[in-house]
Amino acid sequence: MRPVAVIGAGMTKFGRSEWPLLKLMNVASLAALNDANLGDVKVDGVVVANMGAARLNKQTAIASALVDRLNLFPAMAESVENGPASGASAFKVGYQAIASGMADVVLVTGVEMMRAVNNLEVTDFVASLSHPEAEYIYGVTLPGLAGMFARLYMERYGVTREHLAMVAIKNHANAMKNPYAHIHQTVTMEGILTAPEAVVNNPPIAEPLHMFDCCPVSDGAAAVVLATQEIAEKLGRQVVRVAGIGQATDTHAVHERPDPTELTAVRLAAQRAFSMASLTPQDIDVAELHDAFTILEIAESEEVGFFKKGEGHKALAEGVTSLGGKLPINPSGGLKAKGHPVGATGVAQLVELTWQLRGEAGERQVENAKNAFACNFGGFGNNVVATVLTREG
């Protein structure tokens, strides 16, 4: 297979968009294309990640629409829907097209416009990824699944609400340094946990998870331009090589797993990505994990191999995962504070890591980052895509 590089990256500010879906997608795509500075080199493939445009925005076939708006004819184009892992799945499709020789340059764009509907409808929309007969029909939502997961995890591994709050505090602080983040608001342990007012400030959503344990509902788009490494070198760009991609699946219904605290698909996807990259978790300098709920950052940090099972919260408490720590996790603010427009999230993680590897992450730059890792978590861990990026040279 041919080596593939990320040669352009861009995104919109996450949050609540005044723009329609297609404009969001266009703006992020143009930012990535401008960054790639392709000159005469043509884009011959477009892959768009999206989960809910058909339902939330009454818009289908958005990859074709993007080609039209950007005048990228006759590039091949397709949309990828893989729940919250759509972004990294689309990235994988783009990678495969180039690695296999079907294309030389592919634009991968993730987009979601979730705030077009009210909170109840958007919660129902996301819950539609759960098992229809075993979960959804009983009113189970993603916060509900995460709450049950967190309760079991806390009981088994000694994670406390204080540890969960540490994830939120860290990621909100990181997001303050990210102009593209949805939430620009620091939070403190006193304000969200220990003060008497925390009862009001941070109400329960799905015990033991409270409001500041959950990601916001966001609009946003992110895009990367992939190309053969040969083209990347010809264009004179700092080469960020796609070193490894792994994907794995698990049971649709969480209760069918032998141990619901084991995120098997996360572990397998990460192992496959590391194997392909010929790297280990210990080689990683910076990571973006799918912290839709604070407990997931802790759990994923263990499953992907950064820490032993049951020790992720200890590393967190010791500052290992903070900016300036040995392994900064979610320097972008993560889903928790950067925001989580579901179809865009997996691409946005890779945009952040590209900037980190190129040394362009501003105040949140991880010093001398060479290897980066992303985990894009679909369903409630039933379809996970892991990606390893490496800076060449």
């Binding site: 500010k13 949805h182 304000g191 008497p196 400030n201 500041f212």
Partner: protein, 231 residues
């Protein structure tokens, strides 16, 4: 009519005795301390200045809430509403939000509006709770009549407390029929929704004496929140 003063006396509604709202301090999620205190009539103009740029913000019904609140504040300043009061939330003196209401009679209160400038920290929720606290714990009223003009308000008041329907009683704001917070509902909701501590330290109170406004652009930006258009 003998003179202007006599006419003015007739135009002013008769007032009931109204003990003041004792200030309190609330620790927000950010760790910042928000002082909640009652507004003096002389301070109304600065609130009008804060509200003015929001008259044209359609999002989350800020336009209608601001327009009505603007009128209610003028009515308060010039004594045209019976027993009206205004509470403000101030962080280091900076205006974070405001609420108002009035006493219909000794037993019944009426909530008017809640307007948050600093969003994302449940400032509106805290201030609305302070308003209910005023009616129930300090004015010793039996119930408060409430309507919501926005879906956010409906979720925060009608669902979160939860309030009870009292459709047979009209609300002065018109629109949707009245809902009511009674003593029983208030006491049940109080532990999870009413917070803050008293007395407020002299230092914090001094810092909250003079209301400082965020810049007009910041007021609108805070209210509008993150947009896709600025990056």
């Amino acid at each position: 009519m003998a003179n202007v003063d006599e006419l003015e006396a007739l135009l002013r509604p008769p007032e009931l005795e109204m003990p003041p709202y004792p200030p309190k301090v609330i620790t927000l999620a950010s760790g910042e301390k928000m002082v909640v205190r009652q507004l003096d009539r002389e301070e109304v103009p600065i609130l009008l200045e804060a509200i003015y740029p929001l008259l044209w913000v359609e999002r989350d019904y800020y336009d209608i809430v601001s327009a009505r609140l603007f009128g209610e504040l003028l009515a308060y300043k010039r004594y045209r509403v019976k027993n009206e009061y205004v509470l403000v939330g101030l962080i280091d003196g900076l205006l974070a939000g405001m609420v108002n209401g009035h006493m219909v009679d000794e037993k019944v209160g009426m909530s008017y509006h809640t307007l948050t400038i600093r969003r994302g920290l449940r400032v509106g929720s805290h201030l609305f709770a302070a308003k209910m606290e005023y009616h129930m714990d300090f004015l010793n009223q039996e119930e408060v009549l409430i309507v919501a003009e926005s879906p956010i308000g409906f979720r925060r008041w009608m669902i979160e407390y939860p309030l009870q329907k009292k459709y047979e009683v009209p609300h002065e704001l018109g629109g949707g029929p009245s809902w009511v917070l009674n003593k029983e509902t208030y006491l049940a909701a109080k532990p999870r929704l009413v917070s803050g501590s008293r007395p407020v330290s002299t230092q914090l109170l001094t810092g909250a004496q003079t209301i400082v406004l965020p810049e007009e652009e910041k007021i609108v930006a805070q209210v509008l929140g993150g947009k896709g258009g600025d990056k």
